[in-house]
């Protein structure tokens, strides 16, 4: 997840990769999670942060995080 640290992630969810010039759009939750990855937080810490921030169910967060991580890998961002 080192590459995520280099990303420019705005509050609006706009993400710019300065090494490839690619840009992406995430919703606010996605941007929040990416910022957590950029802070070097592990999966449990991120789940806890998301639950605290959005008051959502842990099982759901765990599932969503997994598919989000897969998407990050698919986009060569990890």
């Amino acid at each position: 997840m080192n590459k995520i640290k280099q990303l420019a992630i705005s509050e609006s969810g706009f993400i710019f990769d300065p090494s490839t010039g690619h840009s992406y759009t995430a919703n606010t939750t996605g941007a929040f999670i990416l910022k957590q990855f950029a802070l070097d937080k592990n999966e449990s810490e991120i789940i806890e942060a998301v639950i605290n921030e959005y008051e959502v169910d842990e099982v759901q967060v765990r599932q969503d995080l997994k598919s989000f991580e897969q998407e990050i890998q698919r986009q060569h961002l990890s």
Binding site: P18, S19, T20, G21, H22, H76
Partner: protein
Amino acid sequence: MITVAISGINAIDNPGPGTGIARSLKLWAEQNNESVRIIGIAYDAMEPGIYMDWMIDQSYVMPYPSGHIENYKDRMAYIIHRENVDVWIPSLDVELPLFIGMKEDIKNMGVQVLLPSRSDFQAIQKNKLHLVAEKMGVKMPRGMEMTSEADLQSASEKYGFPMMVKGPFYEAQKVFNMDQAYKAFQELAFKWGYPILAQEYVSGDEYNLIGLSDGSGEDLGHLSVKKMMVTKQGKVWTNVSIRNEALESYVSAFLNEIPWAGGYELELIMDAQTQEFYMIEINPRFPAWVYMASYCGVNLPSRLVSKLMELPFEKNSEYDVGKMLIRYTGEMIKSISEFEKVTTLAES
């Protein structure tokens, strides 16, 4: 006052770099309290740069570089004498072999010019580029030269479709079947002559790197971009400045291999699957989007002029990442009398 003659002022849908170079020099003059006079060198009375009087101070129409060399030299000498030209920047690919051949004559005319050696110029031609790329440690799509339709058939069997069909100097077409391949082959051969090149198609985003060196192998500045949008002819319409370590490593790899003198542009594709770069072309001049680099902090035309005029200049490559260049269409309204002047006197 520094007077600089610049060609490639054909700011059309497939633009030359001339107006970008002129704009860069005007920016440098404004930022440094210098005075620069731009002499536009055109080959046709319809080149828009001739009429862009806020950027080009005076223009002259030249005989074609493919014509009689003595006529070309006489016209150059006339312009240099008339305008007291200090620096001449030939910015079109087709001019370079001619300028390299008359390097001594140009010096004797009292004008400064930065040119690669003939062997360096030849080394980056499309049919030899794979040798340079190999030494630089960058991959290149497989390709072959073609002089007949039988060669084209053989290339299509080797590389499959889509495939790139390229002219020897300019233009490339992506073709999806044999009919399109024949059409592209014939069109490009008619326009540019042989050999035509066939190249394996690599799917991915296009990246360009602009740079400058002085023949010593020293990097005098560079900047990388990702193409965001291109025209039907593959020309940049929107770019974004980036910083990519792998891409930047090709600067020293290139200059170690070829001690280039002048502006240059590396064109690469990043394979969508593997994220590896493939070299597509090296252009022997600044690209048409050169002003973007100048605006972002790496003003290479001003560094070129400063180098030749023995003025101090920065050599760093510190620039703003995430800046976008966006081309747009615009119109000028001019009197027919201005066109009349250019067509009858070959100057404006």
